[in-house]
Homo-oligomer: 248 residues x 2
DNA sequence: GTCGCACCTTGACCTGCATCAACCCCCCCA
DNA sequence: TGGGGGGGTTGATGCAGGTCAAGGTGCGAC
């Protein structure tokens, strides 16, 4: 099954299968604390709202919106971005199925970034006030959310390191490895996948221009590390890619 | 009173005055949820351990250490940094009095970064397991910690934007503005202060070399935006500095 | 004092990536 | 069928900031 087909299947699931519950969601080991008891999962289930699919290019929320909920991505990919005072855009992250987006809104009760679907997506909305209440009675859940937020912090810090030190090759290699690892976590191929984000988004995220990103892809293709066909990526030499990410 | 003298006073306080409590700490409006009731503050007080001062250059914790606690900075400055596989160092943040450090350890129960004192510092240790328990019964405290973590996320994302887009001038200007704002929050001067971190640390944090940082300082001095005397900084033209930070 | 060292500054040169420009490919729609 | 637009690639050129090198300054040890 190629990624194209998977994509279509996902879309179909989105538009018909709203009655899924956390307990039978194939992503629950990623998005949920696996240590929760069945009864607790049901309680969590009750507060979660499964919304209708989000079309490509549409916003889940915008910078400045009142913060109400965090969202678990069920299908598709989202990007989060901020707009600087002078109108420039900065992509701060990409969010894949099983990941949680929107936690930047907690501190000020206002979203600090916007979230937009890069392809048709589906999310589970988790009203934050309910989550807070539930957390007070479910220590595991409280811990899980502390951990999720902490993970977001450490991931951002890794990106900081990447942006602060590394060459264009290292940055691109690191992104591909990240996508690869996140695919693997969802039991998809770690070596063949479709990059849902455009070259512009990649460049923006990595602090590079489109042209540079494109050149790096070409170079890695020439070196037989990747096979690149538009958005389709095949990793031919994972070790070499890792070496590139470390600045070899 | 100049910053030098303040610094000495703080040191004195560190070595003798361990009996301070949260309720009479002059930083409590920054570090604590001001919405906590007096009784709740006392409970929090009970779990907090005020440790002895941390000498310049000493570590509060190191990358890889088991995660036990988060720490509120009471005096002095700390830097957090990670070491990449190839041995390079990346400063991920500076922490001033009233701020909380160590939250990166929550996700994996292991510290993802090291924290080191840039000058003699004092911290309040807050055992995380106690904090979790207390949070379950004190919704305000739970919310406060969610907010603190969320703030760390949004701050990291701002740094990402800075590193991804901006020129050397913009980066340095942004750092100075950040230090200035954090000083103001503690009711210290927003225009005259001592940078406790070295040029190396600044460069590392901002993704620049020492030489570039030094040149930017010189340039801003020549433009009458700053007066720089080694680590002592005076902001002469705050508006110009803000314009520089926005890429004017 | 003065030695040693850590830290900072300045200058000269070099390079990796941005910038500018041209072009291709694909898809949609008139 | 052709034309327009979005996205991607490739080449030529320029410059901001990295690198290398030399020298200055402050400070603690003895």
């Amino acid at each position: 099954m190629n990624t194209q087909q998977q994509h279509l299947d996902t879309k179909k699931a989105c538009s018909h299968d709203f009655q899924v519950s956390c307990s039978n969601c194939r992503l629950n080991s990623i998005c949920l604390p696996f240590s929760l008891e069945a009864r607790d999962v049901d309680e969590l289930d009750r507060i979660i709202q499964r919304s209708k699919p989000l079309q490509k290019g549409h916003h889940l929320y915008r910078e400045g919106d009142a913060f109400q909920s965090v969202y678990a991505v069920r299908a598709g990919t989202l990007k989060a971005y901020q707009t600087t005072d002078d109108g420039r855009e900065q992509v701060t992250g990409f969010y894949f199925p099983g990941e949680i987006v929107g936690m930047d809104g907690i501190s000020k009760n206002v979203h600090a970034s916007s979230a937009k679907a890069l392809e048709t997506a589906a999310v589970c909305e988790i009203p934050f006030s309910s989550l807070e209440k539930l957390s007070a009675t479910m220590p595991q859940l409280q811990r899980h959310f502390f951990q999720l937020m902490s993970r977001e912090i450490t991931e951002d810090q890794q990106l900081i390191t990447l942006l602060s030190k590394s060459s264009a090759d290292e940055r691109v290699a690191a992104l591909i490895l990240s996508v690869s690892a996140r695919n693997a976590k969802r039991r998809l191929s770690a070596t063949q996948f479709r990059l849902s984000m455009s070259r512009v988004d990649i460049g923006n995220y990595l602090g590079l221009t489109v042209e540079t990103v494109s050149r790096v892809f070409s170079r890695m293709q020439k070196m037989d590390v990747l096979r690149v066909d538009n958005k389709e990526i095949e990793v031919l030499d994972l070790d070499a890619l890792k070496r590139l990410a470390e600045g070899a």
